[in-house]
Symmetry: C2
Subunit: 219 residues, 2 copies
């Protein structure tokens, strides 16, 4: 498979394409061109074609892309029909919001459990997701075959919690804390630093008041 060759930026755009194709499918659209996708997603059409070209020759010249075919292809490629179970550590302000949202409704990802050290939270059920004590971490991860954790604890608890996660066999962490986590090299970490995002936006506004440059890739 072409997997090994896909640029990181492309991998980040594929879910975007997938989501939009679902929408097109839902309204009965049969075909779509890179130009139409470009318009809707605000990505250059050549970039879109290049992205798809990494996966194979998915389109037809003079026609464009068949929505059903492309959708199905991406579904397989992104393994959208396998449900991935994840857990969330730190059921506070942000953690609760993410739990409530859950990603399952529209996606293939499901938060199956929350964890906290606050006795008041342990035992709660948030929109169907149970909150456990941290000492049940390993047990629950194994039960649900969980390999990915969302980390929304206070920054002071970030490293110790991460150590516990690594110990319990996690492989990937989506880190919302500002901490730079130390982990063995086989663990993958993605950082989402909302404070930095906000500050960066403000920085650009203050320093490039008349913004002609294209927006960068965010999220």
């Amino acid at each position: 498979m072409a997997d090994q060759k896909i640029p990181q930026v492309t991998a980040k755009r594929l879910p975007l394409y997938y989501r939009y194709l679902e929408k097109l499918h839902a309204i009965g659209k049969q075909r779509v061109s890179s130009a139409a996708l470009a318009e809707a997603l605000q990505i250059d059409p050549a970039t879109i074609r290049r992205d798809f070209s990494y996966l194979g020759e998915l389109g037809k010249k003079g026609y464009g892309y068949n929505v059903n075919y492309l959708l199905q292809f991406l579904r397989d490629f992104l393994r959208q029909d396998e449900v991935t179970n994840v857990v969330l550590i730190g059921v506070g302000n942000l953690g609760t919001a993410l739990l409530r949202y859950n990603f399952y409704r529209s996606h293939n990802t499901k938060i199956v459990a929350g964890f906290d050290i606050d006795e008041g939270k342990i035992g709660m059920d948030i929109d169907g997701v149970p909150v456990y004590s941290m000492n049940r971490l390993k047990e629950v991860l194994e039960l649900h075959s969980v390999e990915v954790a969302i980390l929304t604890v206070p920054v002071s608890a970030a490293q110790s919690t991460t150590d516990q996660l690594v110990n319990a066999g996690i492989r990937g962490i989506l880190n919302f804390t500002p901490a730079r986590l130390n982990v063995p090299s086989h663990i993958r970490i993605h950082h989402i630093d909302l404070t930095v995002e906000l500050q960066t936006l403000i920085y650009f506004l203050k320093n490039f008041p008349t913004n002609e440059s294209k927006g960068e890739q965010n999220g």
Copy 2:
């Protein structure tokens, strides 16, 4: 000023440096090398030196960087002593979490108001931040000189809300909805798509089980 020449990625890392320097300052550290910063922030030391070099010659050979000096320099450069007022549209799950967090405690950014259409929410006070009806948008933006909005409404309301924001004179939007917003070219938008972040993490885990590659820059 060197402003015009700073790469986007550097601009995103500056707040990171600033935050860590504050920490060093707090524990009384006087000097720091790019190697030490690299270790703590998990960024290549050459990248750090290059980043600083865009701002001037801030270090001294054989010595490193003076923490106080660098901190003060970045404070000025990032205008960390000017408070930037922002508003938040859509006081739901995510919006409430962001409001509660607020960025003011440790940063120069303050959410001064929330907005919603839900009658049950209008008039509320969330940790000191009032929630207004959407028809008071222009008035409140002007009162507090707000130019930046955080958007956390349902995706269905994203474009119409954006139009209202643009109309009311906003210049930058931090967009948490999955919608690709259409705005005049002078408006700057940063997207934070949490679903895509999670999916991308999972994609990389599934496809590169033994991850040797460095993690990319995320937020």
